[in-house]
Symmetry: none
Subunit: 406 residues, 2 copies
């Protein structure tokens, strides 16, 4: 991970502005027809010009060979070792839907399931009910005004399909709790069990809630039961302002990315953007307010997971076409990269290194690259490195790190 | 080193098969006549085809600038930090000749030496006696049925030239012992000295054995004395099945490589192979029994140490010519590399990075390399990395690692 102590000692004030432009899952694999990846096949005159002016490289979000999820991938990009700083599933789901969080809250991801007449699980995902059904069940449970203790508040929100988030708010709570999903059918949901004595009361409170909530939906098959997984609290990550001396803002369309950015101390920029161009326009609105802007483009990953090479390529072309709006703001440093690879051939995240473009006029050492693509990045002037090295590199190119030693 | 805990958490079952093909000491230096290394000068149509289909890189078995021995080099390839996991010389020699080992045994490497009339060392290597003379002395000592204590068994085997292995078997033994070779002539062999109180008895037992064994060969100049070095016990390495979830087999002609593989939990495949083609045929015989096969080719290193460029090149060509037998088994992943470099110009192991080829159809990101050689590997899509990253990378390409985080 970035050496926060060293960085903090070297941080010096500057008026420069840094943009971290993340095309989620941008890395790909070449297709047979022309041996080009989505990024290489895309018509990207602006990115290619930036490659000529800048310097390329490739990074591993977690480590060589490790396929990164979006949470760890972004932590890596932000300079945090994703193995050391683990964000529990419950917290990731909660930030993912923008639930406000306090350090002492304990969250869990919930799954609706189907229970048979004997109370045994017959479907762990409740027949994959649509989100509207999930919302109905959650609202019904909310309406029941379940209480588990006088000093404990219950937080409950639907997520997607059969998934929801539940949290307890109060003092003395502890997330060292074992999940209740037995991972198979034909058995009852497990009870919440404390892994530490300090979590005994939390286990009891969650068990009470589960019993009462299950009672509320008992006639609502196929979603007439529930299990809880990934109990977690706010991981209390060091904050951007503190470790990098940056006032940072996050522009993202999907809540999860806003949430992860918020966990590292970025302010979530309010906007009504639905396209990349609109995200850049949102950046223009708040341009004077921040030293650092994280701008997240989701659909490169979505189209990669769909297995749609052409559509992923089109998203990259959309980013390229919108770039003049971002360049018009005259940022000092732009880092263009992804949080992991999502080759459309694999329809999934992958372990392949992620291409990166460092653009910083007058500050970067251009490497004679002529296009932004996986193979040009593999031969780029920055080499192959850990994602945690990106932030110090961006700070350096922004003139924000003093010399180390005499 | 590979993050064993992380890897273990992510391991998922698969039916894929991985081959680690090690050409010992394959890395070289270019000769003046055509600026080509042994690997680059060799006619290798199959390896070059695999390079076109795969992805190249180069690795450091231990660390930049460190010339690796064969033991540490292989530990590095297997994913174990060779500095953290030290295999003592005594154990390396013992596994090298296939001696069965118990965790509580203490082994030492022995050297026959020449003692003069006053008992001073006049030749530390006993005039480099041939192996047959070594075997004769060892058998003579064995015949003397030396006892050092009622509860201690003595293990003794010849190795090569003036070298042998001696071990003590029993309870309460400890390998924290100082060597008896004074590293110069004109002085007596040193006594074994304990470095810890817990090793006091072991020192006494070895000293007793040395006195009695020296007595047996006292008239057998030039090998009429002996010294002991590298006292060591089984390093108790984490095992392949446990850390990688792989049932692994090792095919090697030289006992030492079988021994090191066995120390990490690989099964030693019995075979009668003397050529690379026969080693691949041996792989075919046991193909269904393993998830992972380590196949070791010794003679690249031997010819490098001989200083014979052409002969080393010929061994590489032998490997290439035999490759269709391996490819016919349809492995999912083949990693071709070495455990260190052995440039024939230096007639010795060297610190130069080791070329690596990752071949995994449909899973690898080809890097547009057109041949397998040191300079193409230095510019390869995998970059330059530690050998310990190879195993996670191979597991990823074999679909054996789940995504980390959501």
């Amino acid at each position: 991970m970035a050496n926060f102590k060293l960085i903090k000692d070297l941080i010096q004030p500057a008026k420069t502005k840094i943009v971290l432009l993340v095309m989620d899952g941008v890395g790909g694999l070449p297709r047979a027809s022309d041996d080009k990846t989505e990024l290489e096949a895309a018509h990207t005159p602006n990115l290619d010009q930036m490659a000529r002016e800048g310097c390329l490289g490739q990074h591993y979000p977690v480590a060589m060979g490790i396929t990164s999820g979006s949470g760890p991938g972004h932590l890596g990009l932000f300079g945090y070792d994703p193995v050391y700083y683990e964000i529990g599933r419950g917290v990731l789901e909660a930030v993912g839907i923008g639930m406000p969080m306090r350090p002492t809250d304990v969250f869990a991801r919930g799954n609706f399931c189907t229970l048979d007449a004997e109370g045994l699980i017959s479907d762990r995902r409740a027949g994959r009910i649509p989100t509207e059904e999930c919302i109905k069940r959650v609202n019904k449970i909310k309406s029941a005004n379940i209480r588990v203790a006088d000093d404990i508040e219950i937080l409950l929100e639907p997520v997607q399909d059969y998934r929801f988030v539940v949290g307890l708010r109060g003092s003395g709570l502890n997330a060292a709790l074992r999940e209740t999903d037995p991972q198979r059918t034909g058995v009852r949901p497990l009870s919440v069990v404390a892994e530490l004595p300090a979590a005994d009361r939390s286990a009891e409170l969650f068990n009470t809630w589960i019993a009462k909530a299950t009672e509320v939906i008992t006639d609502d098959a196929p979603a007439n039961g529930l299990t809880l997984r990934g109990f977690a609290s706010d991981p209390a990550l060091p904050k951007y302002e503190d470790v990098y001396g940056l006032k940072a803002g996050a522009i993202a369309i999907y809540p999860m990315y806003r949430g992860v950015a918020n966990l590292v101390g970025m302010e979530v920029v309010e906007h009504h953007a639905y396209t990349v161009a609109e995200e850049f326009d949102a950046a223009a609105v708040v341009w004077k307010d921040y030293d650092f802007l994280f701008i997240h483009v989701k659909y490169t990953d979505s189209r990669g997971e769909d297995g749609n090479f052409e559509a992923k390529k089109a998203v990259i072309e959309e980013v390229d076409a919108a770039l003049p709006r971002l360049l018009a703001l005259k940022p000092d440093v732009i880092v263009v990269t992804g949080d992991h690879s999502t080759p459309s051939q694999l329809k999934a995240h992958s372990w392949h290194p992620v291409p990166l473009l460092m653009w910083a006029p007058g500050m970067v050492r251009p490497d004679r690259s002529i296009e932004f693509g996986e193979r040009s990045c593999a031969r780029g002037g920055l080499g192959t490195f850990q994602a945690a090295d990106i932030m110090p590199l961006a700070l350096a190119h922004a003139g924000r790190l003093a010399k180390y030693g005499a």
